[in-house]
Symmetry: C2
Subunit: 391 residues, 2 copies
């Protein structure tokens, strides 16, 4: 099927600066519609959900409101909408929601295996827990930035054979990930079972979890990644509603270990998604990570994240971890593509990259590819350029 990837089957939400003020918009093809203005005329009962600069009030309102709004917007006639559409081109886009807590998972078996081999060459690549639970950790919400934001190269402690030295990271990397935006807050001690994931996962976006591998390697034992990640995390400008992915659901890979009941998804609707990512470095394609290859699903990540009684807030975000497929051209980080920097990647422009250089621009794009039964569904892009360390 051919249709615009941001057509009526998508209806992604974003925040655009309109007449000087950030406003919540819905994307239609290459236009945006100011939701509060359109609702005021066409569906006044929904205005309070969308009269905001960000998605958070809608996220708070819960799944019935999400569906009511989506149904309403899908039903609007082109004639009715004509006066509310504004061309996207040239508009400034902002982060479409205020991030409450940010959790990053590690859900790709291929990525975890590749990283395990590089970081722990003498041990098993996967830790003993890996196939029993989706490994994750909390990241820094305050440094989540929107696509297009420049990323200043971080500095930090770098290991040497003697004492550590201080300097700009020499192993700066990207990580191509999918993010899940949450709403419908819960109380503490109320875990979210797999069956209720749809009531809390509002939509999906793209994430570049920038990583300074040298800072990370030195700091990470025993409490995990910290400054190697916390300088910046980039998000796509569009959040695509979960309902738009109904035709993209696929079974996740077979599980090698039997799962505890709270993670056992064998009898559920499939929570894998046929989303294909592409990574470009300075305009040159370098990888095509397949999201369908992820071992752990979003529903499992959410069930695990809350099974200890942790509550959820509207605006919580979790990311999948680096998406890497089984094959050479499907790796979601330079760490893997260059084998820890030992085999620099040869780019089509004749240059080589072990890790990112100042001035490099990384663009990660994703979509559900078109099939006979479905049109292409766009997630847009997450873009960022590396600026030199300033001091």
């Amino acid at each position: 099927m051919t249709e615009h990837p941001f057509g009526r089957h998508n209806l992604a939400y974003g925040t655009a600066v309109l007449d000087g003020a950030p406003r919540l918009v819905v994307r239609m093809d290459d236009d945006v519609v100011d939701l509060a203005t359109a609702c005021a005329a066409l569906r006044p009962d929904l205005v309070e959900l969308v009269d905001a600069a960000v998605l958070n009030p809608l996220l708070e309102a819960g799944p019935e409101s999400w569906r009511a709004l989506r149904t309403a917007v899908r039903a609007w006639h082109d004639d009715d909408l004509a006066s509310y559409r504004r061309p996207l081109a040239g508009l400034e886009l902002r982060l479409p929601f205020e991030v409450a807590d940010y959790v990053d998972f590690y859900a790709s078996e291929h990525h975890a295996t590749n990283v395990g081999r590089l970081f722990r060459p003498d041990g098993e690549p996967l830790t003993p827990n890996w196939k029993h639970l989706p490994i994750g950790y909390h990241g820094r919400s305050g440094t989540v930035v929107v696509s297009g934001t420049d990323i200043v190269r971080p500095a930090g402690q770098l290991r040497t054979r003697a004492a550590p030295r201080f300097g700009p990271s020499e192993r700066l990397d990207f990580e191509a990930e999918i993010g899940f935006v949450l709403g419908n807050a819960t109380e503490r001690a109320h875990p979210i079972p797999l069956e209720q994931a749809r009531e809390h996962i509002f939509g999906m976006c793209l994430v570049n979890d920038w990583s300074a591998r040298d800072i990370q390697a030195w700091e990470t034992v025993p409490l995990g990644p910290f400054l190697g990640k916390s300088f910046a995390t980039s998000l796509s400008a569009w959040v695509v509603p979960l309902d738009a992915f109904d035709d993209a659901r696929v079974r996740p890979p077979d599980r090698d270990e039997s799962l505890l009941p709270y993670l056992d998804d064998a009898r559920l609707e499939p929570w894998g998604f046929d989303v294909e990512l592409t990574v470009e470095l300075n305009g040159i394609p370098i990888s095509r990570p397949p999201f369908a290859s992820m071992y752990w699903t979003a529903a499992q990540m959410l069930a695990h994240m809350t099974v200890n009684g942790a509550s959820l807030r509207a605006g919580d975000l979790f990311a999948s971890g680096t998406v890497s497929g089984a094959h050479e051209g499907q790796l979601g980080s330079l760490l893997e593509l260059s084998r820890g920097g030992t085999e620099p990647l040869r780019l089509a422009d004749g240059t080589e990259r072990g890790f990112l250089l100042d001035g490099d621009e990384v663009v990660i794009r994703a979509s559900v590819p078109a099939r006979e039964s479905r049109p292409e569904l766009g997630l847009g892009e997450v873009r960022g350029r590396i600026l030199p360390h300033a001091r």
Copy 2:
């Protein structure tokens, strides 16, 4: 000197429910004063800083505003204040600020050594990085709760000799810590040098970083603590301004490794604090952790946390990590007090504890003890009772 620990030398801030609405208050002895009401009458120019339910607008406003308000409140005469004072007894207290990002450090050498011996019995107790940088990680902001909130025992995956099983934690613990509340936001790529820590650290509070040791042990490699911590973190109801601690400053312990310049505090005002903690279990004193023994200072933690370019938001919180002294009676967690549960602690009521039982109540208190030159300075308490797992 004898004076009320929450006298005019303290002026701690909190949030109390007054006439049905949460309001920002300042504590005076055993009373509270609604700041917006008092300022409206006595210092109208300061009302906008305090006309709120939480500290965040004041935290945003920055250190000149913090000092202007503190100076004003100190100068108010008892006669002027009489009509604004309300007895604290019986008031409901709330979390005094909205937590933006929460970072937990690991700054006690004694604690890190004790834990390292228990978790990695065959290795060096301290990891090679420990004396070069303050180890830390991001925790979950959304589950930070105010003192007095009940804590439901978390459940999760527990390691067995075969596959993991699921169940309520059997090794539930407390961690006695000091928290630092931040304001005066910064941009990305603008690290905060040691010399500027005073411009961003607003005040101090007490933290109980509840920990499920069994959940933590299974999940923690390779990305650090996650569900073993994220179910709840309790905070004292009072934030004591940093300026109140001027007479409590002490030199931190001698450093065993020379520090990189951004952490080298040898020529600075001392950033250790002579704060003494006490831990009670069901009313029985079990430990007296000395905060002055901490290896890393708050200024160093803040400098480290931002040296990679991570920005700061008003409402960011970081905690010191468990405060444990060198001696048996100074350990800040049951894990240490019971040597990983192998030597249960004998309580004065004749019972024993390896870890916390349902119904147990932990109360951590702290103050700067009185000396000839200074009155006692109170930080109050952080209190929490364990409820049984519900399912």
